[in-house]
Amino acid sequence: MIEVVKILFVEPSYIVREGLKTVLSRMGIAFRAEEAEEVRDNFQRLLEKHKPQIVFANPDLLAKSWHGNRSAAIFEGVVLIGLMSKESGEADSAHFDFLINTRHPRQEITQALMNILSKNGFISGETDSENISDRETDVLRLVALGFTNNEISDRLFISVHTVMTHRKNITRKLGIKTVSGLTVYAILNKIIEAGEVKGSSL
């Protein structure tokens, strides 16, 4: 499904930023880019403001703004990718989740990005075409009928957490996010009948 990924580029070189954007576009990634040419002490502020999911950053630019706080809450769920321009030896590489060498040839860079993005769930490879399972259909049926997560958990004898996991997978597989969207899907696929829907949402 198409999910727009929020990406922050912290890199002084205009050409490198544009190049990365082109590479990502060619890979079929839908993203919204925010760009910073420099950071003074405001790396954390940049993160707070843009709430990116992925950050591409030049290690030299961040060198002064670490203060050893990679573990701060703001970094949670952020994939931090270092942009190297030499083979090795850049300071602070330990702060990064992944490193990319901007001088590597096309095939290598694309492959490396592909690995990183699929490892972190931004590309789901073949699994997108996967149909929803029987259990997911049970959950979908109840969601479409207007039941809450708690009610679904009671009825199917599963934890609320499991209900939420099923819902996430359903949304990912179908590309439908809202309850009313799921209801329409369920009716079109004869999982429920229009007359059964709780309340009058449809």
Partner: protein, 248 residues
């Protein structure tokens, strides 16, 4: 290539015709002749730099210069946001509703499918209208009177007084997304309806949905990333100034 002030407006449209409705929002209508962007903006009393920044955020999806946009006055942004609200409610939504109406006379579909699309869309229209009304009736007037107060000391006392209960932070929290439902509707039409005998009207609807979604995304970005920080700054200014006897 970004749009610049010396380009002929006609060339801007040849470059990217999706910009037509954005340009209209500034009160600049067709019949541009040989005039440049700069000339037309001057003629219509449109601030050139504001026009260029807004048009370019539409023109180039990678272009969203937060720092530049933060320099504009809240009232300037609100005037623009207001025009886009009008455009959604007075033009784009009725336009889609018309196409959906056309589906009714199309016998390439089962009645159930028509009904589902129709009620889903009317529910969406209702939600979008509510969202917009909340902004027009509550949020924007608050921001405008805050700005007026800071500039001249005048302003609606009641609204200023209510600042202590309501702040832009609350808007930031409750500002719900009106794009998800459109996204779903697109996917339902693209993937899940039984294939009709003829897709032409549905194609038109999809085209409209893509345009509207794109526009709404840009609009929400301006609200969340530009308007909110500008107002936060004004609130701080207001709060630090309220200890000042001159303002009291």
């Amino acid at each position: 290539m970004l749009i610049n002030q010396d380009m002929k407006m006609a060339d801007v449209i040849h470059l990217n015709h999706h910009l037509l409705h954005v340009i209209n929002r500034f009160g600049i209508q067709l019949g541009y002749g040989e005039k440049t962007v700069k000339q037309l903006c001057a003629e219509h009393d449109v601030p050139l730099s504001f026009f260029l920044e807004i048009v370019n955020t539409f023109h180039d999806p990678g272009y969203f210069p937060v720092e530049n946009l933060l320099q504009f006055k809240a009232s300037r942004l609100i005037a623009y946001l207001h025009e886009t609200h009008r455009y959604y409610l007075d033009f784009r939504i009725p336009e889609i509703a018309n196409y959906i109406q056309r589906l009714r006379d199309d016998d390439g579909f089962g009645p159930e499918v028509k009904l589902l699309i129709q009620s889903f869309f009317s529910q969406y229209t209702h939600e979008l209208t509510q969202h917009i009304n909340r902004e027009e009736q509550r949020v924007y007037p608050y921001v405008l009177s805050l700005e007026k107060y800071l500039e001249s000391g005048g302003g609606d006392k009641e609204l200023i007084g209510s600042l202590k209960q309501y702040s832009i932070h609350e808007y930031e929290e409750e500002h719900d997304d009106v794009e998800s439902k459109l996204f779903d509707l697109k996917n339902i039409i693209i993937k899940y309806i039984p294939s009709p005998r003829d897709s032409r009207v549905l194609n038109l609807i999809l085209h409209e949905l893509f345009e509207l979604e794109n526009d709404l995304n840009n609009h929400a970005h301006i609200e969340d990333l530009i308007l909110v920080p500008i107002v936060e700054k004004m609130e701080q200014e207001f709060l630090s100034g309220s200890n000042n006897p001159k303002i009291l």
